[in-house]
């Protein structure tokens, strides 16, 4: 779902850049610096995920992992996805520099929204955690297709057409990422519960608390 260079009009590109900048600023502010390496690892996972294609369905689509990033990182998904997409643009020529803002927002905003929506479920543990993680993984992809279509709404493509095509093509990915997010979240809560408890609590404390801590 990388939108290519030269497809979108300048106002949309600018809006995407501004929103991404804002999201990244919030993400960095809320970032607990003790968990910087978690962000790095997930950023790398996001970077690589787009090379893994799921050969199911009419078109070949790749993994996104934005739901997983949202589940673990919350607002820090913005800087993580920005870095991942930047390197994809540099090294693989996916997307491009001018569309970086729009592409980042299309992937990171759903991650944050799903984190806000499903985290309470995930924190409950047991079956709700599984359901919450699955929803976080799959709904993030669904929202990403909707956001991408919204960005394409003012091109020849049109919102409805793009949304239909993208959502249908990404159905297998939604299921796959749902399961994968359940797996990773389950694993992390067992092995490194602090990743969740600390980042989670930091995420939803009033902003500025983290920044205060490290100063």
């Amino acid at each position: 779902m990388h939108i290519s260079e030269g497809v979108l009009s300048t106002p949309i590109l600018a809006a995407g850049a501004v929103l991404t900048a804002a999201g990244t600023a919030v993400g960095l502010r809320k970032l607990d610096y003790d968990h910087l390496m978690t962000v790095a690892i997930l950023s790398a996972a996001f970077f690589v995920a787009s090379l893994i294609h799921v050969p199911i369905g009419p078109t070949s689509v790749h993994l996104i992992f934005n739901g997983l990033l949202g589940a673990v990182l919350g607002w820090a998904s913005f800087p993580a996805i920005l870095v991942g997409l930047l390197l994809q643009a540099i090294l693989f020529q996916f997307g491009g520099f001018t569309v970086l803002g729009v592409n980042t927002f299309d992937m990171a905003a759903p991650a944050v929204i799903c984190a806000l929506l499903f985290r309470p479920l995930m924190l409950r543990g047991g079956r709700s955690r599984v359901i919450g993680a699955f929803l976080c993984g799959s709904v993030s992809v669904l929202l990403a297709t909707i956001f991408t279509s919204a960005a394409l709404a003012f091109t020849d493509e049109g919102f409805i057409h793009a949304a239909e095509v993208l959502a249908v093509a990404h159905l297998p990915i939604m299921v796959a990422e749902g399961f994968f997010t359940v797996l990773i979240v389950g694993y992390l809560t067992k092995v490194r519960p602090d990743v969740f408890t600390s980042t989670y609590s930091n995420q939803f404390r009033r902003s500025g608390d983290c920044a205060m801590e490290e100063r």
């Binding site: 779902m1 690589v48 050969p55 070949s60 870095v83 960005a151």
Partner: protein, 235 residues
Amino acid sequence: MRTLRLLPCLLLLALLAAPSQAFAHKVNIFAYVDGANIVADCFFSKKDKVNHGVVSVIDAQTGAVLATGTTDEKGALIIPVPPKAVAAAHDLKLLLKAGEGHQGDTVVQASEFASLTAAAKAKPTEHAPAKTAEKAAPKNKANAPAKAAANAAASVETKAAPAATAIDEAALTRIVTQAVDQTMESKLAPVKRMLLESSEKSVSPTEVAGGIGYIVGLFGIMAFAASRRKDRSGK
């Protein structure tokens, strides 16, 4: 339960190992001029061609859309070089729209279809010498009986000879260019294919490793900066 958990892992590994790696994020278009046609190859990757992608042929200078075409199942498109482009001798930009925000372009330079431009320009002038030659020919024939019978054979030979070579020259250049074009095309076919294949650059492991390295390095720097800040505030 444990086996259940392992399943997605195994699935993912299978996906990783799957040889069909199609990259539907970047769309490529490769085009060249073949005779009077533009031949374009549109693909996401070697295996993943662009089905029914829309290619617009655009005058690179004026931005006017001169022609549009749709690719077939194999991502190929053969479209005649637009006459306007031939006349204007401007570079052509081929813009491929593969849907869902995928777009790629390439440029066919005017020099690639320069022979067509030359041919188009030569057409009116080409007719002129041919006509003069035709006109000259009857004159020769008319003159021939007027002259002495003995000289006739010789004069016809001498006068007809330059006319014949004049026709031959024009015809010859045409024949030669055609023949050369044909042989060149057949000889260049593998080169074109090689160029096409080399332009179908897929992601290499080096780049992937490099990217991961960059990410780790970048966050490493951030962690370092954060730890220094912490140290300073601690002191």
